[in-house]
C-alpha cells in the first residue's frame, strides 16, 4: 500500500525519463540521417521532420509556434523548447519535479542522478553542449536515463513503488516504440535502398540493430522490423515484451494470478498482450501498418488511463475529467503562491 499521489508521481517520473531518452534517440538518429543525401531524396529537411512530428504527436503545436520553420527548428522544438511540454528538456524537468515530490521514497542515488541530469540540461553548459556537440548531448541523456534505470534496479526495494516505476517505464517504452514504427508507416517507397535506410534508422533508434541482425540477418525489410519491434517476446524494447512485463508488474501489484484480472488496468493490458501474442506481421500488413498502430496506441492510452483510475482515483471519482495533472506548469500562480506563503 502506498499513497496514490506517490504512485502517480513515481509512474510519471519514470515515464518522463523514458520519453526523454526515446526522443533523444530519435533526434540523434534523425540528425545523423539528415547528413546522408539519400535521406532527403528531392525533399527538404523540413519534409523529413513532418512525419517525425506527426508520429510523436507534436505537429500541431510545432506548426502554431513555428509557422515558417527554418532549419534546425524542428530538432530544437523536440529537444529544448520549453513551450513544448513534451520536449526532451521539459520531460526531464517534469521528471525531476516528480522525483522531488517523492524523494523520500526513492534512493539517494536515484535522486542524485535525476537531479544531475536536470542540472545539466538546464545549465548554460548543457545548452552550449547542445549547440557545439549535439550528438554528445543526446548521448548524455540516453546514458543518464539508462543509468537511472540501472541505479533503480540496484538500489530500490522491490515494493509497490518499484512496480509503479516499472509500469511507467514499460508503458512509455511500448508507446514510443509504436511511434517509431509509425514514422514511415504511410510513406513506403518502391526504392529498396531508401526503405532499408529508413527502417534501419528505426532499428537504431530502438537500439535494435544488433538484435535484428542476429534474428534475421543483414537484409532489412518492413515485415521483419515489425516482427521484431511489435511481436518479439525477447527483445526488451518490443511492444509485446514491454506489455508482458507490464502485465506481470500489474499482477504483482494486485496479487491476482496471471491470466485473470482484478481491475480495469489488468484487464486492458492483458487483452492487448493476448492480441499481440496471437498475431504477427501478416495481420499487420493486411490491416495496414499505420491503422494497426493507431489502434494499438488507443489501447495503450486506455491502459495508461486505467492505471490512473485504478490506483489514484477513488471509485466515486472515476469518469471525471482529469487533465495532465502532474505537470508543474499546470499549477496556477495563485496555487503556487499559497504553497509559498507558509513559512516561519
Amino acid at each position: 500500500m502506498m499513497l496514490s499521489r506517490v504512485a502517480d508521481h513515481q509512474y510519471w517520473m519514470s515515464r518522463q525519463i523514458e520519453r526523454a531518452e526515446n526522443l533523444a534517440r530519435l533526434v540523434r538518429i534523425s540528425e545523423e540521417m539528415l547528413l546522408d543525401d539519400e535521406t532527403l531524396g528531392r525533399g527538404s529537411a523540413q519534409e523529413y521532420w513532418t512525419p517525425v512530428l506527426q508520429a510523436t504527436a507534436m505537429e500541431e503545436s510545432f506548426k502554431s509556434l513555428y509557422p515558417q520553420p527554418r532549419q534546425g527548428d524542428a530538432a530544437r522544438f523536440i529537444t529544448s523548447d520549453l513551450r513544448n511540454a513534451d520536449s526532451i528538456i521539459s520531460c526531464i524537468r517534469q521528471a525531476r519535479e516528480n522525483a522531488r515530490s517523492v524523494r523520500d521514497k526513492i534512493s539517494e542515488e536515484m535522486w542524485t542522478e535525476i537531479n544531475a541530469l536536470n542540472m545539466l540540461v538546464t545549465s548554460p553548459e548543457g545548452i552550449d553542449l547542445l549547440e557545439v556537440a549535439p550528438q554528445a548531448f543526446y548521448e548524455k541523456i540516453i546514458s543518464s536515463s539508462m543509468l537511472f534505470d540501472g541505479i533503480t534496479e540496484a538500489t530500490l526495494t522491490r515494493d509497490e513503488g518499484w512496480n509503479f516505476l516499472q509500469l511507467g517505464r514499460l508503458l512509455e517504452r511500448a508507446d514510443m516504440t509504436s511511434r517509431f514504427l509509425d514514422i514511415w508507416s504511410q510513406s513506403t517507397s518502391q526504392d529498396a535502398a531508401e526503405e532499408s535506410l529508413k527502417w534501419g534508422a528505426v532499428l537504431r533508434a530502438c537500439g535494435a540493430h544488433a538484435g535484428y541482425r542476429k534474428a534475421y540477418g543483414g537484409e532489412i525489410t518492413i515485415e521483419k522490423v515489425v516482427d521484431l519491434l511489435l511481436f518479439s517476446n525477447e527483445f526488451p524494447r518490443s511492444i509485446r515484451h514491454c506489455l508482458r512485463r507490464a502485465d506481470e508488474v500489474l499482477h504483482d501489484i494486485s496479487g491476482t494470478p496471471t491470466g485473470g484480472y482484478s481491475n480495469q488496468c489488468e484487464k486492458l493490458t492483458g487483452a492487448l498482450l493476448a492480441r499481440l501474442s496471437f498475431s504477427g506481421p501478416t495481420e499487420v500488413m493486411a490491416k495496414g501498418l499505420h491503422d494497426y498502430i493507431d489502434d494499438l496506441q488507443k489501447q495503450l492510452n486506455s491502459s495508461s488511463q486505467a492505471v490512473f483510475e485504478s490506483f489514484v482515483l477513488l471509485p466515486s471519482e472515476v469518469g471525471r475529467h482529469f487533465t495532465r495533472h502532474n505537470r508543474p506548469e499546470s499549477m496556477s500562480d495563485w496555487q503556487r503562491e499559497q504553497q509559498q506563503q507558509q513559512q516561519q
Binding site: 523520500d104 535522486w111 477513488l314 499559497q338 509559498q340 507558509q342 513559512q343
Partner: protein, 476 residues
C-alpha cells in the same frame, strides 16, 4: 594566520573578549582551523556547496518566476556554546514553552489571565492568529505548541535575549542536521570530542508526535502535511518525513469523512491519526478558515474537534507568538509558574498603547519596527538603515493600524568570525534552538545559527541573504 586581522568591532564577539583574546572554549578550533589556508577553506566550501546542489539540499527563492532553488550558504567556522551557558539557555527555553502552553490552554478555556488583569483582553482578541473557533475545544494532553523554534540573539554584554517565539510552524531544523553532517564530512579534524550530537532529533520528534495520538493509540498513523514542492522549506519536509519514516502528504492526499481523516492510497483509504502540519492555520480547512485554500482538507477541523485526529502544532498557537503578546511573556511566566524569567527579552513598545505609539513615532529612525504577525524578516523596518521614504511609509502604516506594529530598540547583536571573500571577518549571528514538547521537554543541543553574510547587516533570514553555521554545544 587566518585570524591575524580579525577584530571584535566593539560588539559582543563570540570568539574574542574585549581585549582581543580568544575565549578558552574556541582555542582548539582556532588552532585546527589555522592549519588551513584561506584558499583551502574556500575550495572546501565550494565543493561542499556543489554537493548540496547535487543532492538538492536547497531552498526556493520567491518572487522569481522559475522558483529558483538555491543552496543555503554554509559557513565552516562553527559556533561554540560552552556547557554552562547552554544549561541556562535550555532551562530558559523549557520555562518559556511551559508558560506558553499554559497560556494557550488558558486563553482557549477559562481565560484566567485576562480575568486577573495580567493581559488585556484586546491583546488576545485582536491577534490575527487567535482562533475563537477553538474556545473550549480539548486537544490531546492539553498541548498546543509541540515544536517551538525560539529565536535568540546576544546583546552587547553577551546576554541571550529572546527575539521571538516561533510557535506555529518553525523551520530550519533540517539544516542543523545537514550542517552537522557536512562538517563531519569536510572538517572531521575540527571535532575534538565533546560536541553534543544532534542526531536524535527525528526520533525525538516522532516520539513527540506519537505522544498526542488520539485515544492513546500505541501505533498511530502519523503523516507530515506539506504545502507542496514549491514551498521554500519543502526540502526540510521531505527530509524529516524520510528520517522519521512517515508519509509526506499534501492536502489533496487527505480526505475527511464523517469526522475522520484518511489518506488516499493505492489500496483505498487509510485512517490518519496525527498530522505534523507545515501549513498555517489559515490554509488548513477551506470549510472553516480561508475558503480559497487549495492546500487544506475540507472537514479536517471538524475531525480535530471530535478528537479523531491530532495536529502538531495545534490550531491557534499564533496568538502566543504574536509580537504584541510577546511583550507579555515575562508576565505570563510569573503568573503561571511563579518564577522569574530565566531568559531576558528585547524591550518592546506597542503601538496600540497611546503612550508607546507617541514614543515610536517620535523615534522611528532609531527603532526596529515589526509587523505583529509577520515572520521571515518580512514587513520590517530597521530605522537606522532606512531611507526617509521608508520611514514615512511605516509611519503611515503605524498610524493606520497601530495594533499591527511593535517597535524595539536596535540590538546590535553579537558577531561571529565568518569566512568571506577577503578572509575571515565578524558577521552578526542569531540562534534558533528547537524545543520539543512531548512526554518530556527536549531541547536540541545547539540549534540553527544563522549569519548575516553582508557586512554590518542584521538580517539573517535565508530569504534575504543569510547563511548558517554548525552550532556546537560542548558536553562539559
Amino acid at each position: 594566520m587566518l585570524l591575524k586581522d580579525y577584530k571584535p568591532n566593539k560588539l559582543f564577539d563570540e570568539l574574542m573578549d574585549e581585549s582581543g583574546k580568544v575565549r578558552p572554549y574556541y582555542k582548539t578550533i582556532v588552532d585546527r582551523l589555522s592549519s588551513l589556508s584561506h584558499d583551502e577553506l574556500k575550495t572546501k566550501i565550494r565543493s561542499l556547496e556543489l554537493l548540496f546542489l547535487k543532492q538538492g539540499i536547497t531552498f526556493t527563492v520567491y518572487g522569481d518566476e522559475k522558483g529558483t532553488e538555491r543552496v543555503f550558504p554554509f559557513d565552516p567556522f562553527p559556533r561554540v556554546i560552552p556547557a554552562p551557558e547552554w544549561e541556562t539557555i535550555e532551562a530558559g527555553l523549557v520555562q518559556r514553552i511551559t508558560a506558553l502552553n499554559l497560556f494557550l490552554y488558558d486563553v482557549y478555556h477559562e481565560q484566567r489571565i485576562i480575568k486577573d488583569g495580567i493581559i488585556p483582553k484586546e491583546v488576545v482578541y485582536s491577534a490575527a492568529h487567535f482562533r475563537p473557533e477553538f474556545m473550549g475545544v480539548s486537544i490531546p494532553k492539553d498541548a498546543y505548541i509541540h515544536i517551538c523554534g525560539t529565536d535568540l540573539i546576544r546583546d552587547i554584554d553577551g546576554r541571550y535575549l529572546v527575539l521571538e517565539d516561533n510557535g506555529r510552524c518553525p523551520s530550519g531544523v533540517s539544516y542543523v542536521l545537514e550542517n552537522r553532517a557536512a562538517m563531519k564530512r569536510v572538517f572531521p579534524h575540527l571535532f575534538g570530542g565533546g560536541v553534543r550530537s544532534v542526531d536524535t532529533y527525528p526520533a525525538d520528534l516522532l516520539a513527540t508526535l506519537r505522544h498526542i495520538a488520539p485515544r492513546e493509540n500505541p501505533n498511530p498513523n502519523i503523516v507530515l502535511l506539506t504545502p507542496g514542492v514549491h514551498n521554500s522549506a519543502y526540502f526540510e519536509h521531505s527530509f524529516l518525513a524520510r528520517q522519521m519514516s512517515i508519509e509526506i502528504v499534501e492536502g489533496r492526499d487527505l480526505i475527511a469523512l464523517d469526522g475522520f481523516v484518511y489518506m488516499r492510497t493505492t489500496r483505498g483509504l487509510r485512517q490518519v491519526d496525527v498530522i505534523y502540519r507545515r501549513i498555517d492555520d489559515d490554509f488548513l480547512d477551506p470549510q472553516v478558515f480561508r475558503k480559497d485554500s487549495c492546500l487544506g482538507v475540507p472537514g479536517l477541523v471538524d475531525a480535530v474537534r471530535r478528537g479523531n485526529v491530532a495536529l502538531a502544532n495545534a490550531i491557534g498557537t499564533g496568538v502566543a507568538d504574536d509580537k504584541v503578546t510577546y511583550a507579555y511573556v515575562p508576565e505570563m511566566i510569573r503568573y503561571y509558574l511563579c518564577q522569574e524569567p530565566i531568559l531576558d527579552q528585547v524591550p518592546t513598545y506597542l503601538a496600540w498603547r497611546d503612550s508607546d505609539k507617541k514614543y515610536i513615532l517620535d523615534n522611528l529612525p532609531q527603532l526596529v519596527v515589526k509587523a505583529a504577525n509577520e515572520s521571515g524578516g518580512y514587513g520590517m523596518l530597521i530605522g537606522p538603515a532606512s531611507t526617509k521614504e521608508q520611514i514615512e511609509e511605516f509611519r503611515q502604516k503605524i498610524i493606520a493600524t497601530p495594533r499591527n506594529y511593535i517597535a524595539q530598540p536596535v540590538v546590535n547583536f553579537s558577531q561571529h568570525p565568518t569566512l568571506v571573500e577577503s578572509g575571515i571577518e565578524g558577521r552578526h549571528v542569531d540562534l534558533r534552538p528547537f524545543v520539543l514538547w512531548g512526554d518530556t521537554v527536549k531541547v536540541l543541543p545547539g540549534g540553527l545559527t544563522r549569519v548575516a553574510l553582508k557586512r554590518g547587516s542584521l538580517v539573517v533570514n535565508s530569504s534575504q541573504g543569510g547563511g548558517s553555521k554548525d552550532t556546537w554545544v560542548f558536553a562539559t
